[in-house]
């Protein structure tokens, strides 16, 4: 393939692109759009994080000190929405934009204009959502899960803005997913058969199908909320023949696959990084593909484990308990495969690997609490407590977010052509790792001891742990400014130049193009043997 790399060096000479803001507004280049997505996600991560800081400041001690309960509820709601739809999902889409074409040897995404559009509607969606906070009565305050009738009859008029912003986010996600699928199906380099595709590409392909399957369900749910609230329908109102629990069924039919939308690409990233720094091929490649597929399929039949206390029939409770427990089997296979990949490798601990290792341990902890939550009779005790908050933050922060950070450190040298500042990167890792555990681990304890989630004030027995949690939260928030500093340095192209391969153990097409990756790559497809 070395001939391909030689060809690519010519690309540097015809980087036709407008300069300044027009470059970013009009761009159809997958790398530019990937960069836009990633910066957008990072900004949203900081905004959503600032809201978490408000929450943790209020919960620092018992009593109401800083915000009123209505504003507190807006913070928990918008924090959740921003982190899910504004930070984690766009970050993965950004990584897909940058890396999928490079990993399969395609010159760009298949639908570049739609790519531009799917990014540029996102800022408007979040502008609408955030501006609703400044309306009289405030923004959405019914939790990111917007259970009816709290979000219908009992919400204020800003709900309309919430509904429209979710619609736009959904449209953006669907377009992004279509683009990924079409690209992977049609634009693989000659010789890149299905079972030769890198796992990041595989996991994203499956994720994209999940997105197409469930984002329309979310759109349906918000539309029904809109008509129940403003146009007199009764989908979720028993007085008109509807059922508020039906809302939860519809929401979680979207919501549970959504959870895997936020973790499958993470599995892909870890499956790229662990072999590189173990200098050994991924153990059980095909079982990884099958495990990912089965997790995706199972994700459609477990949704009601979020709803065990709603009063389902015994049969349904049993079914969803067993189906949920089953998910731990393919998930376990993945973790075992990563460990087997490391086994008898030659491991080194560069920062992407540090984040990947932290991911494996801490995501697995989140998996354990997930298995505990699957046991219906015990879930009655855990449900809607801080134990659940601990669980999903372990899988989403030390899971999804850590994998995104690992990915950024892994591919950043390829994007900029320069090694990131390793001192800052190590500081970022260790500060994040310690603080994130001070932040989320004690949540298990207060949850088991009986502290409900989404409360602005709590009884005195929870005071000490909440103080620790808040301190961990502030520290984790501050640690992210180290990351910001590092990224700004990287954008100014500071640092040591890197080789094309960057990491000595790296395998794959993305490492055969020059560093930094030229504006146009693979205009002639490489041949994969």
């Amino acid at each position: 393939m070395s001939t391909v790399a030689d060809d690519l060096h010519h690309d540097d000479h015809h980087d036709h692109k407008p300069s300044g803001i027009k470059r970013w507004l009009y761009t159809t280049n997958h790398k530019d759009i990937g960069t836009l997505y990633l910066w957008f996600a990072f900004i949203m991560f900081l905004i959503g994080g600032a809201m978490a800081m408000v929450i943790r400041a209020e919960l620092f001690q018992p009593g109401l000190q800083i915000v009123d309960p209505n504003f507190f509820n807006q913070m928990t709601t918008v924090h959740g929405l921003i982190m899910v739809f504004g930070a984690v999902m766009p970050a993965f889409t950004g990584l897909a934009n940058w890396m999928v074409p490079l990993m399969i040897g395609a010159p760009d995404m298949a639908l570049p204009r739609m790519n531009n559009w799917s990014f540029w509607i996102l800022p408007f969606a979040f502008l609408i959502l955030l501006s609703s906070l400044f309306l009289e009565g405030g923004g959405p305050n019914f939790g990111w899960t917007f259970y009816a009738p709290l979000s219908t009859t009992y919400s204020n008029d800003s709900t309309a803005l919430f509904v429209f912003s979710v619609h736009i986010m959904g449209a953006s996600s669907i377009m992004g997913a279509i683009n990924v699928i079409v690209t992977i199906f049609n634009m693989r380099a000659p010789g890149m058969t299905w079972m030769k595709m890198p796992l990041f590409v595989w996991t994203w392909l499956i994720t994209a199908f999940l997105l197409i399957a469930v984002m329309p369900v979310l759109a349906g749910a918000v539309t029904m909320v809109l008509t129940d609230k403003f146009f007199g329908t009764s989908f979720f109102d028993a007085a008109g023949g509807g059922d508020p629990v039906m809302f939860q069924h519809i929401f979680w039919f979207f919501g549970h696959p959504e959870v895997y939308i936020m973790i499958l690409p993470a599995f892909g990233i870890i499956s790229q990084i662990v072999p590189t720094f173990s200098r050994k091929p991924l153990f059980g490649y095909s079982s990884m593909v099958y495990a990912t597929t089965s997790i995706a399929l199972l994700s459609f039949i477990v949704w009601a484990h979020h709803m065990f206390t709603t009063g389902m029939p015994l049969f349904a409770e049993m079914f969803f308990m067993f189906a949920t427990m089953l998910i731990s089997v393919p998930t376990g296979v993945k973790v075992f495969n990563w460990v087997a990949t490391m086994w008898r490798g030659a491991i080194s601990f560069e920062v992407p690997m540090l984040f990947a290792l932290a991911f494996i341990v801490l995501f697995t902890l989140g998996g354990f609490s997930g298995l505990m939550l699957a046991i219906t009779p015990v879930d009655f005790q855990y449900h809607d407590t801080y134990f659940v908050v601990a669980h999903f933050h372990y899988v989403l922060v030390t899971g999804a977010v850590f994998s995104i950070m690992a990915a950024v450190y892994y591919w950043l040298p390829k994007w900029t052509g320069k090694m990131y500042d390793e001192t800052l990167a190590k500081w970022h890792f260790w500060c994040s790792l310690i603080s994130v555990n001070v932040l989320f681990f004690p949540m298990h304890f207060v949850g088991l001891a009986g502290m409900p989630r989404r409360i602005p004030d709590y009884s005195l027995q929870f005071a000490d742990f909440n103080q620790w949690i808040s301190i961990g939260g502030f520290a984790f928030g501050l640690s992210q400014f180290i990351f910001l500093a590092l990224l700004l340095k990287a954008c100014r192209k500071e640092g040591e130049p890197v080789s094309d391969k960057v990491w000595d153990g790296a395998e794959g097409l993305e490492w055969e193009i020059p560093s930094p990756a030229p504006y146009h790559t693979f205009e002639t497809p490489p041949v994969v043997k």
Binding site: P69, G311, M325, A346, L371, V378, Q381, I455, L460, Q467
Partner: protein, 381 residues
């Protein structure tokens, strides 16, 4: 690993933290409660079993990982192996977890079946949630009442010191007998709430328009505290559940006593219809009622929350239209968060609180509202 060791570790760190003066429960409770029912004990055992299974898997997986990280390091000069596939191993680590799961699923299913068996109850109580209080109705006796947070707003605001049961205390707890199967029918008047008492391992959503069932059989007399577990709006965090379990004889005496008291109060109320209360009495009763029943939404200063809950201060209805004002308080406003207080408050309390709303915060109408005025609206005369 020993729980004691973990507690000791945490106690070591705690000297730095601000320790609340001996609160109701252990501030370093790390684990689920065993509770006071057979079911809650089974739930606790399930919780511990699955926890130990997870610990065991964790030790094996993280142990192998740690071993590789220490001994298979590049810096030790090891040469990486090249194996990357083994169908046998893959099958093994698919089948073994599956078998462990079956061992877990069987006892879980048994407990679940027992929990959902609400048949043959000795006592049935209808539990109704509304923003932000619980209502208890004894289906076998003529007894029903509301149960509201009893913690003073000054404690929440930090003006007074917080008491031992801060946020976990109510004005009228639910009382149930020990050693009897008590069935709860759970529903809601407005949004979804969730009735939860950890010591009973009972948590069930209160869905508007639908009735859920749960049951408990408490082994030991005592006071058991819980909270609403489903986000139900602004004061979700201020909606505790307190249950007192009494010996059956004591319980029966209590029920008879309460039912008689409730009957007497209703008779008293009829006498009120012929009487006029003076402004001073109405205002002082009214203020108390307002603070407990109305201030959560309309705020202690009557200004409401703009865009969410309307202001009463300077409101047209509170200043002019008295019949409409009574109607709203008594019957509520459908399709909004305004509840019907006709069944929640006595005639005297209704008269007093409406008088208060028409004369407080500069709403100086100078008018009093009497019990008979309220009764006229309630009975449609």
């Amino acid at each position: 690993m020993g729980k004691a060791a973990l507690s000791a570790l945490i106690a070591l760190f705690s000297s730095a933290g601000v320790l609340a003066e001996s609160a109701g429960a252990d501030p370093y409770q790390l684990n689920l409660t065993k509770g006071v029912t057979d079911i809650s004990a089974q739930v606790y055992d399930l919780h511990m079993t699955i926890f130990y299974i997870c610990v065991a898997i964790g030790v094996v997986v993280f142990g192998a990982m740690l071993y590789a990280m220490v001994f298979h390091r590049k810096s030790k000069g090891v040469k990486p192996a090249h194996f990357h596939e083994s169908v046998k191993v893959e099958v093994a680590w698919t089948i073994i977890p599956f078998i462990i799961l079956i061992f877990m699923a069987v006892p879980a299913a048994k407990t679940l079946i027992a929990m959902e068996d609400t048949s043959e109850a000795d006592v049935t109580i209808l539990v109704t949630g509304s923003q932000w209080k619980w209502h208890y109705k004894y289906m076998d006796n003529d007894l029903e009442y509301y149960s509201l947070l009893a913690t003073r707003p000054e404690q929440i605001g930090g003006k007074y010191e917080k008491g031992r049961n801060y946020l976990l205390e109510v004005d009228r707890p639910l009382v149930i007998p020990t050693d009897k199967k008590v069935r709860f029918l759970i529903t809601s008047d407005d949004v979804i709430h969730s009735w939860w008492v950890p010591d009973f391992a009972v948590k069930k959503d209160a869905n508007p328009g639908f009735i859920n069932e749960a049951w408990t059989k408490v082994n030991e007399p005592g006071i058991y505290r819980g909270q609403c577990a489903e986000l139900c709006g602004k004061d979700h965090g201020f909606m505790p559940v307190v249950v007192i379990a009494k010996e059956p004889a004591e319980y029966n005496a209590w029920v008879a006593d309460q039912a008689a008291a409730q009957r007497r109060a209703k008779e008293e109320e009829q006498k009120l219809l012929a009487m006029n209360m003076d402004m001073g009495e109405l205002m002082s009763v009214g203020e108390k009622v307002y603070q407990s029943a109305c201030a959560a939404c309309h705020m202690p200063n009557g200004e409401g929350l703009p865009g969410v809950f309307p202001a009463l201060k300077g409101s047209k209805i509170a200043l002019t239209d008295m019949p409409k004002h009574i109607d709203i308080v008594v019957n509520g406003v459908s399709g909004t968060a305004m509840q019907a207080f006709g069944k929640q408050l006595s005639l005297k309390e209704l008269a007093a609180v409406i008088t208060y709303e028409r004369n407080a915060w500069g709403n100086n109408t100078g008018e009093t509202v009497q019990a008979k005025d309220v009764n006229a609206v309630m009975t449609g005369k």
